[in-house]
Symmetry: C2
Subunit: 218 residues, 2 copies
C-alpha cells in the first residue's frame, strides 16, 4: 500500500506541530502551506482534513483550520484512556499469550536495557514502543490493537517527555519486567494493574507533565 502525497504531507505537518513550528491556536494557511510544500492547495486540504479527523487540528468551516494541542485536562484524560486500553490488552493477553511472544517481550526488554546503558534515547523510545506494540498484538483483538496504536501515536510526543524524568528509565524497565512476569503467570488482574500503573500519569509524572506543558505554551 503506497502512500499518497497528501498522506506524506499530513505526516510532515503533524511533525511541524509536534516540534513546535506551528504552535497551539495558530491558523494553518492553505496557500502558505502549499508554497512551503511546493504543491497546490488540493493535497494540502486533504492533509488538513485528515489531521482534523485525528483531532490534531480543528476545522471551522469557511474560517480555516487551527492547531489544537490538547490542554492539561484533555491530556490527562487521554493518558487515562490509554492506560485503560492497555490494561484491557494485558487482561486479554494474559489468557491468550504464546510462549514465543513472552520471549519476544523479554528480548525487547533486553534491547531496551541495552539502550539505557548506551544512553541511546532514540533507541530506547523505539524499543519501548515495540514492547507496548507486542502487548497490543497479543491481546488477540486486532481492532483493539489498532485503536491502541492510534492513541499511542497521538500521545507519542508527550510520552517522550515523560521518560526524560530522572530515574524514570530504570523504574520503567522494572515495570516492564513486572508486566511480563504477570503475563507469564497468566494473572490477568496483576498484568492489567501493572500496565495501568505503568501508563497512568500520577505522582511525580503528573508534575513533570504539567511543567512541560507550561514551557511548551511559551
Amino acid at each position: 500500500m503506497e502512500q499518497k502525497r497528501s498522506d506524506i504531507i499530513a505526516n510532515q505537518i503533524e511533525e511541524l506541530i509536534f516540534d513546535g513550528t506551528f504552535s497551539d491556536g495558530e491558523r494553518l494557511d492553505e496557500v502558505q502551506l502549499s508554497e512551503r510544500f511546493a504543491v497546490s492547495r488540493t493535497p494540502i486540504r486533504e492533509a488538513l482534513l485528515r489531521l482534523a479527523q485525528s483531532g490534531l487540528v480543528e476545522h471551522f468551516p469557511r474560517r480555516g483550520v487551527f492547531v489544537r494541542q490538547p490542554g492539561p485536562i484533555e491530556l490527562l484524560e487521554m493518558f487515562e484512556v490509554m492506560a485503560e486500553l492497555e490494561a484491557t490488552c494485558a487482561r486479554f493477553a494474559a489468557a491468550r499469550i504464546s510462549d514465543a511472544a513472552i520471549q519476544e517481550l523479554n528480548d525487547t526488554n533486553k534491547r531496551c536495557n541495552a539502550a539505557v546503558e548506551a544512553k541511546d534515547a532514540d533507541r530506547y523510545y523505539l524499543e519501548n514502543e515495540r514492547f507496548h506494540a507486542i502487548l497490543y498484538k497479543e491481546s488477540g483483538n486486532s481492532f483493539l490493537e489498532q485503536e491502541c496504536l492510534r492513541l499511542q501515536r497521538r500521545l507519542q510526543p508527550f510520552r517522550r517527555t515523560q521518560l526524560r524524568l530522572r530515574g524514570r528509565l530504570k523504574q520503567s524497565m522494572h515495570e516492564h519486567e513486572e508486566i511480563v512476569a504477570a503475563l507469564e503467570d497468566g494473572d490477568s488482574q496483576a498484568a492489567a494493574d501493572a500496565i495501568r500503573d505503568h501508563v497512568a500519569v500520577q505522582g511525580e509524572k503528573f508534575h513533570h507533565l504539567m511543567a512541560r506543558l507550561k514551557t511548551a505554551a511559551e
Copy 2:
C-alpha cells in the same frame, strides 16, 4: 459549527452503505457519486477521504475506494472493545456520578420502557442510545466519552439488529436497571461487569449477529 457540504455527503454515503445500497467490496465511483449528489468530484473526494479514515471504506491509492464492511471477526472485536470502553465508563462513573445523573438515567429508562410498550422501535433505539451516552458523559472523562460515541456510531447499524431479537428488549431494559442500581450503590466493579455483559456479544446474541451477517452478504 455549521456543516460542510462534504460532511453532509459523507453522512449520506454512510447511510447508503448501511442500508445496503452499496454492498461490501463495491467500488465507489467518484463521477457516479458526483452525478448522484449533483456536485463536483471535489466534495465527493473529501467525503470519501473522511469515510476512509473512519474505516467504513478502504482507499487504495490510484485504484479507488471500496466499501469495507467489517467481517464477523472484526465485528466481534469491535463489540468486545465497546464493552470494555463502556465498562471503563461505568467504573469511573460509579465514583463520580451525581444524583441528578442517576435521575436522568432512570428517566431515560422510563421513556425506554414506554417505547417498548408502544412498540415504537425508533424511539426505543433513540432512548437506548441516550442511556449509554449519559453513561459516557458521567465517566467524567470527555476524551473517553468522545471515543465511546465514535465507536457507538460505527456499531449503530449492527446494534440495531441485535435488539430485534425476540424478548431482547425486556431483557435489555432489566440490564439497564441493574446498571443504574450498581451505580447508585457506588459499586464500580458491579457496574462495570453489568454493562460489559450488557454490551458484549455472547450466547444468543452471537448467533443472531452471525445470521444477520449471512443475509447481509447476499
